[in-house]
């Protein structure tokens, strides 16, 4: 609680600077968000695009930045963090963060598989959306969450201009935050907003029969589902993941706090209050692990937050994208 004001101020400023400077919340200029698509040869242009908004790809770096921040916190009184990350970002930040991220190969593989699984699944039902590769923007969701509305105006307009310049008419989002931003928030800043925005699970569940046919492996296992706050309460997408999972042969069990009453993983405040996030994610994991040792999530933030307890509680956390990857 002490020095919260100082700390939140540093983080907000860093975030704002990063996004204004390079359009990325991590402040990284080097393109880190296209590696997953190596070898897929996805079309670069099209009316319909798959928008990852870099969310899954950011995961290994978020983990590293979070621990950097946690270890820097004691030195905060010397104004250390802001200066460090800022300076670091400009010259070495990219390097430091990238080097340490190499250590988190596991999460990198999970992210990669999740995204590839989504592409395979869409392809199995005859959809081949384009991918903007290095031109792919970040949605700006963190700016919105933290009340930096003034800077989000600028960012949203940039993103919209980019999408328009690529003749995009339909956006298929892969994570709830991005879909929420483009569907609910962007229209507030853009007149005559005409982008069609869907979450890939909507499309898959509408074509679940077809998806089922494309499955090479049956995932006969019992899973407990952890719904994402944004998916259920903000987007109203509740049954989609269930339909898709059943199609893949999964047995889904519900925890007590599920669907519209789902409990948060704690992720959204990890940038500042790690101790609180840990308590929240631990409590949620205890609830989930009582129902099943296999947990399925539909959001990259939930994924990294709940994974922390894999060893401790003897559980495994899967993104639904990963399971699609396995099944197809």
């Amino acid at each position: 609680m002490k020095r919260s004001r100082r700390f939140v101020s540093e983080v907000l400023s860093t975030l704002r600077d990063n996004i204004q400077r390079v359009g990325d919340p991590l402040g990284m200029k080097t393109v880190y968000w296209t590696e997953w698509a190596k070898g897929l040869d996805l079309p670069r242009n099209g009316h319909t695009i798959l928008l990852t908004a870099r969310m899954y790809q950011m995961l290994p770096y978020i983990i590293q930045v979070a621990s950097l921040v946690a270890s820097a916190k004691p030195f905060l009184s010397r104004g250390g963090l802001g200066a460090m990350v800022n300076l670091g970002n400009r010259f070495m930040g990219d390097q430091i963060i990238r080097l340490r991220a190499l250590g988190s190969q596991n999460i990198k593989a999970k992210s990669r598989n999740a995204l590839r699984g989504i592409v395979s699944a869409l392809s199995a039902i005859g959809q081949t959306p384009a991918y903007l590769y290095e031109n792919e923007p970040y949605s700006g969701v963190l700016l919105y969450d933290l009340g930096l509305d003034e800077y989000i105006d600028e960012h949203i307009k940039k993103v919209y201009r980019l999408l328009k310049s690529q003749n995009v008419k339909t956006v298929i989002g892969v994570d709830p935050h991005t879909v929420f931003m483009l569907k609910e928030i962007y229209p507030k800043y853009i007149d005559n907003y005409d982008m069609e925005v869907k979450h890939y699970l909507e499309i898959l569940s509408e074509n679940s029969e077809m998806l089922k046919k494309g499955c090479k492996q049956d995932l006969e296992k019992e899973f407990v589902i952890h719904d994402s706050c944004y998916m259920t309460r903000d987007l109203g997408l509740i049954e989609q993941i269930r339909r898709v999972s059943e199609g893949l042969g999964m047995t889904l069990r519900e925890p007590e706090n599920t669907k519209l009453d789902t409990a948060c993983c704690g992720g959204p405040i990890e940038y500042a209050f790690r101790d609180l996030t840990e308590k929240i994610s631990r409590s949620r994991m205890q609830e989930l692990s009582k129902v099943s040792k296999n947990i399925v999530v539909e959001c990259p933030i939930c994924l990294i937050n709940l994974r922390k307890y894999e060893k401790e509680m003897g559980i495994k956390v899967w993104d639904i994208g990963e399971l699609l990857f396995r099944a197809l």
């Binding site: 100082r6 939140v8 930096l148 409990a263 609180l276």
Partner: protein, 115 residues
């Protein structure tokens, strides 16, 4: 945000918070309230009161206030309860509006009127 926009946001917040009937059903639904073992300022109702008293001048922005407001996950569980059993207030969105007002003063290199 210019002064006029700030005023509009402040008035919207105060008007919405005035609709709250203090039933406190949102309190129990909050994950932060649960993990802090029932600290009232870490519950949605408490956060709305903090915003109200901040806006009417009884409280000054400080660490505990930032801790209380920015620890909100924006998860929406409180909204659901208020919709079902309360006054249909979008509690988490009001808290976010509060962050909007405060973030102006927290971001460096920006001169704006303190809330």
């Amino acid at each position: 945000m210019d002064i006029k926009e700030q005023e509009v946001t402040k008035n919207t917040l105060l008007k919405e918070i005035a609709k709250c009937r203090a039933c406190r059903f949102c309190v129990d639904a909050c994950s932060l309230y649960q993990v802090t073992e029932g600290v009232e300022s870490m519950a949605p109702y408490g956060r709305l009161q903090i915003l109200k008293y901040l806006l009417n001048g009884m409280l000054d922005e400080d660490d505990p206030i930032i801790y209380s407001l920015y620890s909100c996950l924006q998860c929406g569980r409180c909204d659901r309860v208020c919709q079902a059993k309360g006054q249909d207030l979008e509690v988490s969105k009001l808290i976010r509006l509060g962050k909007y007002l405060l973030s102006q003063g927290l971001v460096k290199g920006k001169k704006s009127e303190k809330v």
